[in-house]
Amino acid sequence: MDILNAVVVLANFVLIPALSYGSQLALGALGVTLIYGILRFSNFAHGDTMAFGAMVTILFTWAFQNMGISIAPLPTALLALPFGIVVTAALLLATDRVVYRFYRQQKAKPIILVMVSLGVMFILNGIVRVIIGPGEQRFEDGARFIINARQFKEMTGLEEGLAFKASQGLTIVVTIIAVAALFWFLDRTKMGKSMRAYSDNEDLALLSGINPERVVRITWILAAILATTAGVLYGLDKSFKPFTYFQLLLPMFAAAIVGGLGNPLGAIVGGYIIAFSEVTLTYAWKKVATYFLPASLAPDSLMQLLSTDYKYAVSFTILVIVLIFKPYGLFRGKAV
């Protein structure tokens, strides 16, 4: 019984949150890695792209809510998501057109593009704050829980409850769908294969008649889909605040690099590695331990390895370890 209780606590505070946070990171890191694979630079504006996409979706959500449109028990945001994606894709394509394309044609060094993306980040950041403000916004509606702690206790008779938030379930399901669709696209369709070809060997792709501009456009659209989805899911699960999306940059980059920059599968694995490390290291294990250990050995400290304020230190440490020992990442990405 104690073991079961411990497992429930673990699932409740570690497994489920890490799984949903990991999914959000994985989606974000996928965007980073795709852009890196095709356009060959680390896009610092990706976090703020997520914020932008989420913001547009929120505005649509509010509009739908005002009109009384609802898809309960699912959150209205899910209905607004496609609209958010379309607007974000338009924004990214426009940015590419007026900003990035010039440097691509100049064959500028990647670091210049990184710096340019920083400028874009600035601007997106400003736009988001001007439109929706720097504060926290709530936009979730529909069912709150798939199962809440009380129901779970009644169902199982266990002492510990397990709460499975709707936003967490939604995150996991949407991520599975998005990732499956992405891999189907990359592995099975001609367009997707041409993207991989371009990422693998740009010059040879040109010699095969692949149109680079088209590949780039598709990449931005995919990035918009992934970023908006990730941003909305994160916002539903936690809350929407522009600055937190900037802070997500580090874990997302870490995830992409851990997996191997440019490698989509790696980005997903990396996302979960980062999320699980972050959550397990910042979780107070006291409760789990009390179930496992005899009362005499019960810990009196919280058994928390790191305060949650340092969760970014976890991604950073993992990043540093990977850079030192395996700079290509776990799944050999593109050149170091």
Binding site: N201, L204, L207
Partner: protein, 249 residues
Amino acid sequence: MSGADPQMAGKPEPFLIGEAMTGGYGRGADILHDCTIAVDKGQIAVIVGPNGAGKSTAMKAVFGMVDLRLGAVRLDGQDITALTPQARVAMGMGFVPQTHNIFTSMTVEENLEMGAFLRQDDIRGTMEQVYELFPILKDKRRQAAGELSGGQRQQVAVGRALMTRPSLLMLDEPTAGVSPIVMDELFDRIIEVARTGISILMVEQNARQALEIADKGYVLVQGSNAHTGSGKALLADPQVRKSFLGGTE
């Protein structure tokens, strides 16, 4: 050497000609100086010369990957000097670069598919033909091309270029890094391809063997035509033998 090839005078225009090409990379110095390369329908033309002579550059110039300051490239009588490489692919030119000529992370089959990217029709027939030409590739079709041996990679590279069903195939040192046996194999395959009516323009390090199968040979030195003639004539030319073929025989 003057640009206009004296032997061409009066003859009908060759299938492909890069005429009096002068140019280089970006804003750097010219690499090619008044260099002319041509190949007739269904024939094999071979470019030889010392390292750094500009052989690869000449190939790239013909394919539109080097900006020409002077000169022109014509395919089947049509001026294509201003076309992008992709447009040249669409016009029936295929190019196998000297290095990085396969998609290493993709399977052999996907490499071939990418070769046929511009085609809208059914490509399975062509793929079968490539597999007939290079049977080993059929066995390895699901393997990542980067995991193949050097010789097999070259086969993938040539196969990829054949997938567009080109009327002109350009090969930059297709036998680089392969064993003599495989090299003979590859040469045989190349002759086979030429027999189907595809013109072949090829750069070769193994000058003697290449000139033996060549209808036409070009010796490039420092970006200029040093010697031009039929493969046999060049092999017989004492000066060419002395300076480029190690002239012992």
